[in-house]
Symmetry: C2
Subunit: 150 residues, 2 copies
DNA sequence: GTAGCTGCAAAACGTTTGCATGTGA
DNA sequence: TCACATGCAAACGTTTTGCAGCTAC
């Protein structure tokens, strides 16, 4: 099978999967929702709301719709948020099987991910202190190899 | 010594300490800077810029001055920031001897601190991957004991 | 048919900035 | 004296909201 055909099939699959996910969460299937969720399935992120808006085909939906959809996705836990730079939310598809964290280069802002998470112990300690329904948010910041050269 | 006198002495000491800290960083000693830094020495925080503005005596300085002072304190590493809720910066006095993290109740927003930090291993791993000057930001979110009852 | 989603424009929010005035060293 | 800090008001960038019209189910 030629590469082009393969790519097309993959995109179709991602759209089908996003429709399924929307149905699962009881959200109706609309153009903007399909496009945004498919994008977040295809590219890992995390992306700012503006990034996402710019990655969508031009004039495909309003910026307010992007914000509304993303908030709904966060509420239904399809998408998770990270606050990476000053006060700006970044969004990525929330795959509960692949909990991970980010390291952001302080200079070029490139975002890398890694799966290590050793916070279960702390969460258990907090559980013993009486907290329930515990989550955490963890980001690392540093200067990446290529930025050190410049 | 009566309690009142003791409290007064403590406040005087904190103001003296804040003057010393400002001098150390080469910042000139002004009313707003003294007041803001003394407040952050007295109360642990972390507080939003608005919290801090409201905690100062009425009409003691402008809100823009609070932001300007806090940014200078962050630049000079007197103060550190945490991004706790949606996109709002919170500030606290940065005591390098007492690295710690927060747990925020998802309901009442009460902020608790705890000293445990087991992230040195991850930072070492990231160092081996080529990153330098690594920092992290870690917050926990949960429902505290008293909010579970309601 | 109807609940709910969208586009558009306006507002809200936290934060920053320009400028004239005032103050610390 | 003079660099720098402040107050005030206006601007900024991101996010939310009100409302009229449209679309999915």
């Amino acid at each position: 099978m030629p590469l082009h055909g393969h790519t097309q099939k993959k995109e179709v699959n991602l759209e089908a999967r996003s429709i399924e996910l929307l149905k699962d969460k009881g959200l109706s299937i609309t153009g903007p929702r399909k496009m945004i969720l498919t994008l977040l399935l295809k590219e890992h992120g995390p992306f700012s709301a503006e990034d996402i808006f710019n990655k969508l085909p031009k004039k495909s939906c309003d910026q307010a719709t992007v914000y509304r959809c993303l908030n709904q996705f966060v509420e239904t836990q399809l998408v998770s948020t990270a606050y990476l730079e000053k006060e700006m939310a970044h969004f990525e598809f929330n795959d509960p099987q692949h909990h991970h964290h980010h390291i952001i280069c302080k200079i070029c802002k490139k975002i890398d991910s890694f799966p290590d998470c050793i916070l279960d112990k702390i969460e258990m300690t907090l559980g013993k202190k009486g907290y329930k329904d515990i989550q955490h948010r963890l980001e690392f910041f540093g200067v990446c190899g290529s930025c050190q050269k410049t």
